[in-house]
Symmetry: C2
Subunit: 434 residues, 2 copies
């Protein structure tokens, strides 16, 4: 039986998972492909201390990635080091050496994906990046192959498992964010510096890549409005529940007449929607197509083995293409040149909103707030107030009917200046259309 030969650069979490699957699942992979995948070279800064599964047979080990990329037997380089400096060098060198590439690198593909893809096409090699976003969820295969005949109108994702774990547990146990965050850190779900997760940076870089694939436009993080989950409190979940909603960090990309609106922000979603069923540290992506309407994808967003499955599946895909002599021909970023999908400002978005206030209670508060909303042409839907003993710091909620983000921002800015406000009002969109 013939074979296609692979070099792995990076033996961290994902690299080790990839090697474990390639070793243990080798027979089934060969039956699916009709030939073997063989790992001939691996690189890690600490390659001497890494256990290489014996089932892989003899493997060349090095601490210098150049020795993998230039290895005469290697046909596919799997870049599993992450980051954007060395990784970019590895990919460039692989392209120069006419090696096909499988990458798990979200940052690099989000920032330079279109350019790297164009260079790969010119070099006549193959490139795959399923593992770069949403770990074990095969969302790239879905967008590129499974529903390629459709036209994406909206995409909603739960793309940060740490935030989703914190929010679902906060909801169940009614404990504040700080406490849940400390627990997530103890469990290893959250970093010592949690900002990348809870302020939305990680989710945003995933959305850059997913939305670029779904809408075929080159995007950058600055195209995406971002707001983290730091202001969400247990009281918000209680009010949301009264409204038959829950709260999740939603990564949204939706087509409106002016273009595509992109955001990462906490939002109220109906409890009856399948997105609300995403509990704990899972990821999910909901795609709304013009023709196929709703499809929904769910799984582990990270982890050595789920992400390893994505890398191995990509290696299989690329190996098939190599055997067919079929290099990449069209970039997955380049399908929308009809000019309809340019990113536009979040202020154009229309939505119902949940406004949560903390006030020093006194007569006339509702009257003042309603006056500001009326001046902006915003209609009040409901006013909710839980029983509360502390009249000096009273939380209550106003929901409003569909309006523009621009109007709600102007109203909130005006409200924030009122002397009875303990803090600026919290405004969350209500994704009632889901």
């Amino acid at each position: 039986m013939e074979e296609v030969r692979v070099g792995i650069v990076g033996l961290g979490n994902v690299g080790s998972g990839t090697l474990a699957i390639l070793a243990e699942n080798a027979e089934q992979v060969a039956l699916k492909l009709g030939f073997r995948l063989r790992v001939v070279a691996v690189c890690s800064r600490s390659v001497g201390s890494k256990a290489i599964p014996a089932a892989l047979g003899p493997v060349f080990k090095t601490t210098d990635w150049r020795e993998v990329v230039t290895h005469p037997e290697v046909q596919i380089v799997a870049e599993l080091v992450g980051g954007t400096t060395v990784a970019a060098e590895i990919l460039n060198a692989a392209i120069e050496n006419r090696k096909s590439i499988v990458t798990a690198n979200k940052e690099l593909m989000a920032s330079c994906g279109p350019e790297i893809w164009e260079r790969a096409i010119q070099a006549g090699i193959n490139l795959a990046m399923e593992a770069s976003v949403c770990g074990g969820i095969p969302i790239h295969a879905v967008l590129r192959e499974g529903i390629s005949g459709d036209r994406v109108m909206a995409l909603y994702g739960i793309l940060n498992g740490t935030c989703n774990y914190i929010l679902t547990e906060m909801e169940k146990r009614e404990v504040p964010l700080e406490e849940m965050l400390a627990e997530a850190q103890r469990l290893g779900y959250a970093e010592a510096d949690p900002s990348a997760d809870i302020d939305g940076f990680d989710a945003r870089s995933k959305l850059v890549l997913l939305a670029a694939l779904a809408f075929g436009e080159k995007l950058t993080p600055s195209d995406i409005f971002m707001e983290g989950i730091r202001r969400i409190t247990p009281v918000d979940f209680r009010y949301a529940r009264q409204l038959q909603h829950t709260i999740r960090l939603i990564c949204g990309a939706r087509k409106i007449p002016e273009g595509v609106v992109l955001s990462v922000r906490p939002a109220l979603i109906p409890v009856s929607t399948i997105l609300a069923g995403v509990q704990g540290p899972y990821n999910a992506v909901w795609v709304k197509g013009k023709y196929g309407e709703d499809t929904f994808y769910y799984g582990w967003g990270a982890g050595a083995l789920p992400t390893g499955v994505a890398v191995v599946s990509d290696l299989m895909r690329v190996a098939r293409e190599i055997r067919s002599g079929s290099p990449e021909r069209v970039s997955p970023f380049a399908h929308e040149r009809l000019g309809e999908n340019q990113p536009v400002s979040i202020t154009l978005q229309r939505s119902a909103y949940y406004l949560r206030f903390r006030v020093d209670d006194r007569p006339g508060i509702i009257h003042k707030l309603a006056g500001i909303l009326t001046n902006k042409n915003i209609s009040v839907e409901a006013v909710l107030q839980e029983p509360c003993d502390n009249r000096r710091d009273l939380p209550f909620v106003i929901t409003v009917e569909q309006t523009s983000e621009q109007s709600i921002r102007e109203a909130v800015a005006e409200m924030a200046r009122l002397d009875f406000m303990r803090e600026a009002p919290l405004a969350l969109p209500m994704e009632t259309a889901l």
Copy 2:
């Protein structure tokens, strides 16, 4: 710009949806492919009365499918007629004429898929069948590409939208099956003869195909235990809710040490699981992989446009392969020849069970039933009884801890003979492992 040329056989629901998408989405399809897909021939028994979208340009129309299959310009034949007689002739003729094939034919691929695939490989053509199962859910792309590096350990599907609509509405509105069925027929969700849906035949033929793809074995309907939803009543939903479960028609394929157990049957599933969030006439598939663990896929299981997306995506896939000169090389049915995935009897399956009785109430009933269970070494978990005025026809429930299907069948057969039983006990597995 060059093009790949398509012939469509069958202009029913799916065929019309396919033509509509090919006409309206032509620009985006061309941008994704780098070349155009052009429909050059269509066939329908009533082709004269069919509206062909003008945007497609000149199209040869015929009532004789042979004229499409032998049309000199046609490179891909889309077989959208359904059934197993004419459709099989069309596929055979296409293979003989070295035309690639896209098919939406569940019955034919479930019964002859492996043979057709082998013949296509020998003929050096391409074959795709995303539309043959789960309509708009790209489950074939997922299994064949997206998670191909994984090894499937279990697959659970909600594969019949009519049953799912009936069950979710029965749960919400507490009306009996007959009433919901009549409504589903009025809405066009159910046929005049509902047996294919509610007795499980439709779901079973979908599971034959899905499980064959997931486990790489040739399967037939007789390998699958089947039980429909006719015996489910609103009282079962009330009892299920007390147990924090709901009831769905679950298509299951799971690996056990002896092989793969296959079933289509109503089962209790925890309300906290994402499968329970599948409401109304949607389909869903949950795959449990050895490495990637849980992934879940959801969408419309039928419909002209969702299924049309699957056909168009397949046409794009096959067109890419044709342009690369890359015919099919390995059958998607043939990856598991390790002998581990043979279908085995349902009686080997182990599960917790829900037993619902209708009895003519008298002293000693629980004692008698518990005695039978004890004799079979089955442990009672809980006994539930709602208040009920009709002592002559009293519904109540016993749940039991994990045991074998064989043991529960023996116990139920013995219980059915007791003189206070109004009907044979209803035994449903409880899918607590989901």
